[in-house]
């Protein structure tokens, strides 16, 4: 299916799928977006958070008197004060509790200790310095590998009966089948692999403007949230406020990437601040707060083992994971999946046995874990399997492409049930890999590499060339409500479609764009089903008073879930329109056929009604058949029957300077399959962004700590995001394999590139330097040390 077939509207937009310029751009290009820090209300005050300098310390006392005496300070909130409101602790999205403002102890560097409300942001910042906190520092648990040592300090002594730092163990797969497979294998490769702690770091930091209107009793919160309705319900549950009196508004969001899913203490403090002062209170964190306290991502210490025949047929894959969750278990993922979807680590290959065990621990670091386009831990899973496949290729002396081709699932095997219970919906994996290799000119690249290696053996100096690849299967669009809920809220999302009398439409969504172009792409879905030009369809989102309930946008779920809801709603409108058209044309519904935007009489196409005609009739005085209501609306809550499974094949080419360890990414080829593409331009943009993430994580990004728990990545000077200089031109290809169960066959793509790219880059670098494994980020120092056979530990400053 091509996406260039749709006819064009009067404004030149595709009536349906195809390349369409974005409606959002009009305001963003002019600097007329409304992000949270752009919200200004009369009498608005400003909040600032005082944070702990210690990773682990007892709080002996908090003296706020000097801050309260500051002439421009209107309130100071402490944990003690919150305790009187039963708000000092709040539930996390994982069944744990998290401190809003610390009471007994601080448990990570950067943890929230007090909140100042002042007349302007500069005074609020000044007042922080006037608060005196008496700390008694305690030894910190910084290395997850030591968190379960018998003498490790107990972090969560706030939880009754807690005597260690263990959170949970979770298993999937068949341990016995694995043991059997390993015992029979010709080759077993074991490798310790770290996916270090990283951070989504969207360009806009997190924040809120909370306004508790004492007169109406309504709380309105403008906030950076990817899930406005979930936030509203949580505020109701946590703060005991009546839910119908809470309005959460997600205005324009400057990037989410999973950073803006949870409720942060700062938001709660802004609500409390508004309640105390009677004025709106704005709190927007600075970048160091964002990096040090909001949801980090990954931090999985993995030991993988792969068993294979000597010909390269994989027999089994197993992995033990130590998961560093920080000081509170605050991961955002479906309740029944404490390790997210990590058990999709079996990957894209055909073998019968797999097993994983995930052990989660507390450490004295910020809470989080699920973020940064991880698709609920699928980034970790794909990195693990794609590194293991390359390690196996290295062990066998086999080309990694050949090894993958040998083991990839075949199209006739779909739908395919993996050894850990996932049902992949559709895919032609070998074709995607072949397409990537074709675009890359893979054989020529290997030939060039061979020539360079021969030259090096002759004594010629020059960069080391590396070729790496990754093949990934993603599972997105969570999810069937029977299996997937977050804090008891089922992961079904909705869409409400209203066609106005003049034939223009409004679509209200429960998902929340943060740059993905929903205002355009969702209009295109409606346009595809109803023939209404996209410019005549308004997409409304972000305000819980004006949109249907849903769990929001993350895990690439918007198109699979709300996109499906939208398609179904539009299909229902079309079906109702048929009935109304038949009434207007005084014929039977069976006499009518649909052509783009029009129900017309079969054999007599001059007799027909456009959606606009039908909409007017639906609102008018036309007599409707028994049981048919007027107007032309539909409201759908879509409960997806399964996830959808986008996939892709990525190839990366690097050049490594052996004298300095510097890596240059020469080329990156990405072939993605996300089913039919609603707007190819938007899809490509999503992929470009995710590929840059891969370069970032593979070469630059890490939240490291020193032995005392000091955070070494607390600014953008230390937490290095890729610039234009580190990114190559991205070379994209596509295959299209529709999802059989999605109404328009689309699969979702927002996180695919972030999932698949890090392994491709890492595999390329290691291929260049001839080292089996070294951990990300592969900075020049890390590369050089790997070449010396003394790899660096990248997440802890030990030297």
């Amino acid at each position: 299916m091509t996406t260039t077939d749709a006819p064009r509207s009067p404004a030149g937009n595709p009536i349906g799928f195809g390349r369409m310029l974005r409606k959002e751009d009009a305001r963003f290009l002019r600097g007329r977006g409304t992000y949270v820090d752009d919200v200004r209300l009369p009498g608005m005050l400003h909040g600032a958070v005082l944070r702990s300098p210690h990773a682990h310390a007892r709080i002996l006392g908090v003296d706020t008197s000097a801050a309260e005496a500051h002439p421009r300070v209107r309130a100071v909130v402490t944990g003690k004060l919150l305790q009187t409101l039963n708000l000092a602790w709040m539930p996390t999205l994982s069944g744990d509790v998290q401190s809003v403002l610390a009471t007994d102890k601080v448990r990570f560097q950067g943890q929230e200790v007090a909140f100042v409300v002042a007349e302007d942001r500069y005074s609020a910042r000044d007042a922080l310095e006037l608060i005196e906190v008496d700390y008694e520092p305690l030894p910190a648990v910084v290395d997850a590998l030591g968190a379960l040592d018998p003498d490790a300090p107990v972090i969560r002594d706030d939880l009754e009966g807690r005597t260690d730092n263990h959170i949970y163990d979770w298993e999937a797969g068949d341990r016995a089948a694995c043991e059997d497979a390993f015992s029979r294998a010709d080759v077993v490769v074991t490798q310790d692999i770290l996916y270090p702690r990283v951070h989504p770091a969207p360009m806009e930091t997190c924040g809120s403007v909370a306004h508790m209107d004492k007169v109406t009793g309504k709380l309105t919160i403008w906030t950076t949230t990817q899930a406005p309705h979930a936030h509203r319900t949580l505020y109701a549950l946590v703060a005991g406020l009546p839910e119908h009196k809470i309005q959460v508004i997600s205005p324009d969001i400057g990037g989410g990437f999973g950073n803006k899913v949870g409720i942060y203490p700062g938001y709660v403090c802004s609500v409390v601040g508004s309640i105390l002062t009677g004025a709106p209170v704005k709190w927007v964190e600075d970048r160091s707060e964002n990096l040090m306290s909001t949801s980090f991502a990954r931090d999985y210490h993995m030991r993988g083992q792969v068993a294979a025949t000597r010909e390269g047929k994989i027999l089994a894959l197993r992995v033990d994971v130590l998961a560093d969750h920080g000081a509170f278990n605050g991961v955002a993922q479906p309740t029944k999946f404490p390790a997210g979807f990590f058990h999709i680590f079996t990957g894209s290959y055909d073998y019968p046995a797999a097993h994983c065990k995930v052990t989660a621990v507390y450490t004295n670091k910020a809470p989080g874990g699920v973020a940064y386009a991880c698709s609920f831990r699928i980034t970790e899973a794909v990195y693990l399997v794609e590194r293991m496949v390359d390690c196996l290729a290295d062990e066998l002396g086999m080309d990694p492409a050949e090894l993958r081709m040998k083991n990839l699932l075949r199209p006739e095997q779909f739908p395919y049930t993996t050894p850990t219970g996932w049902v992949y919906d559709s895919g032609d994996y070998p074709r995607a890999l072949q397409e990537a290799m074709r675009i890359a000119g893979y054989d020529r690249l290997r030939q060039e590499q061979a020539e360079r290696r021969a030259a090096a053996r002759r004594g010629e100096t020059g960069p080391l060339m590396g070729i790496g690849m990754a093949f990934f299967t993603e599972g997105v669009g969570a999810g069937p409500r029977k299996h997937m809920d977050i804090l008891g809220l089922g992961m079904a999302d909705g869409a409400e479609l209203r066609v106005h009398p003049t034939g223009k439409a409004q679509l209200r969504l429960s998902v929340q764009t943060q740059g993905q172009g929903h205002e355009t792409t969702f209009a295109q879905i409606v346009s595809h089903e109803l023939g209404i030009p996209p410019e005549d369809i308004e997409v409304i989102h972000g305000d819980t008073d004006n949109t249907p309930f849903g769990l929001g946008t993350y895990g690439s779920r918007s198109t699979p879930v709300s996109g499906a809801a939208t398609a179904v709603a539009a299909q229902r409108v079309r079906a109702k329109a048929r009935i109304i058209a038949a009434a207007a044309l005084e014929c039977s519904v069976d006499d009518l056929e649909w052509t783009l935007g029009r129900w017309q009489v079969k054999g007599d196409p001059a007799q027909g009604q456009t959606i606009a005609d039908i909409a007017m009739a639906a609102h008018g005085s036309l007599e409707l058949p028994e049981g048919v209501e007027g107007h032309l609306d539909a409201s759908v809550v879509y409960n997806p029957p399964n996830l959808t499974y986008p996939f892709g094949a990525y190839i990366c080419v690097v050049d490594v300077d052996p004298g300095t360890g510097q890596v240059t990414v020469r080329r990156f080829i990405a072939v993605d399959d996300c089913g039919p593409r609603i707007n190819p331009m938007v899809v490509e943009g999503q992929i470009h962004g995710g590929l840059a993430d891969g370069v970032g994580m593979a070469l630059l990004e890490v939240m490291a700590f020193d032995r005392d728990g000091n955070h070494l990545g607390g600014s953008l000077m230390d937490y290095l995001l890729p610039t234009s200089m580190e990114c190559p031109r991205w070379e994209l290809g596509e295959t299209v394999t529709p999802s059989p169960h999605h109404p328009i066959g689309a699969k979702g793509v927002g996180e695919s590139a972030t999932v698949g790219s890090p392994a491709a880059v890492v595999n390329a670098v290691l291929d260049a330097i001839g080292v089996r494994h070294a951990d990300m980020p592969l900075t020049p120092a890390a590369v050089w040390r790997a070449m010396q056979g003394r790899p660096l530990r990248t997440d802890l400053a030990l030297e």
């Binding site: 310029l21 974005r22 959002e24 751009d25 305001r27 963003f28 290009l29 002019r30 600097g31 007329r32 977006g33 409304t34 992000y35 820090d37 752009d38 200004r40 942001r121 500069y122 989504p200 770091a201 969207p202 360009m203 806009e204 930091t205 324009d252 969001i253 400057g254 990037g255 990437f257 600075d286 970048r287 160091s288 943060q514 740059g515 993905q516 172009g517 080329r667 331009m681 938007v682 490509e684 943009g685 999503q686 992929i687 470009h688 962004g689 995710g690 590929l691 840059a692 993430d693 600014s715 953008l716 000077m717 995001l721 610039t723 234009s724 200089m725 990114c727 031109r729 991205w730 070379e731």
Partner: protein
Amino acid sequence: MQITVNVNGNEASADVEPRLLLVHFLRDVLGLTGTHWGCDTSNCGACTVWVDGLPAKSCTMLAVMASGRRVRTVEDLADGDRLDPLQEGFMQEHGLQCGFCTPGMLMTTRWLLDHQPDPDVETIREAVSGNLCRCTGYENIIRAVRHAAGHRAEEVVS
């Protein structure tokens, strides 16, 4: 202290603290919220404006330093309904997604095109190396600038 800054051709006067950052003067005092901020350490470039015709990170300049100078922000690029060709290029080539880095990118690349009307890919890449983007992977930003320079719908140049 009293300052007067020419912002987008208009004289703007106010009484401000010396420590007020230029970005806050533009956003909070003048209400020009098109200029954004995204870091504490002058890295991200979301705050880029022109000061006396040169791109500057407005988070790393005091409002008082701009007194008597000319400042140009993103709000000055469009001419009423007519987008600047660079803004048009960003729209045509999907050079923005969340829009947060976009004003800074526009101010940096507008200056580039004013001084180098036909920059090649590497020149553009280097010019925006002080402006971070988390959404686009920079690919379409480069295409947008090339578009504005007169090159439409280019193939990837390996």
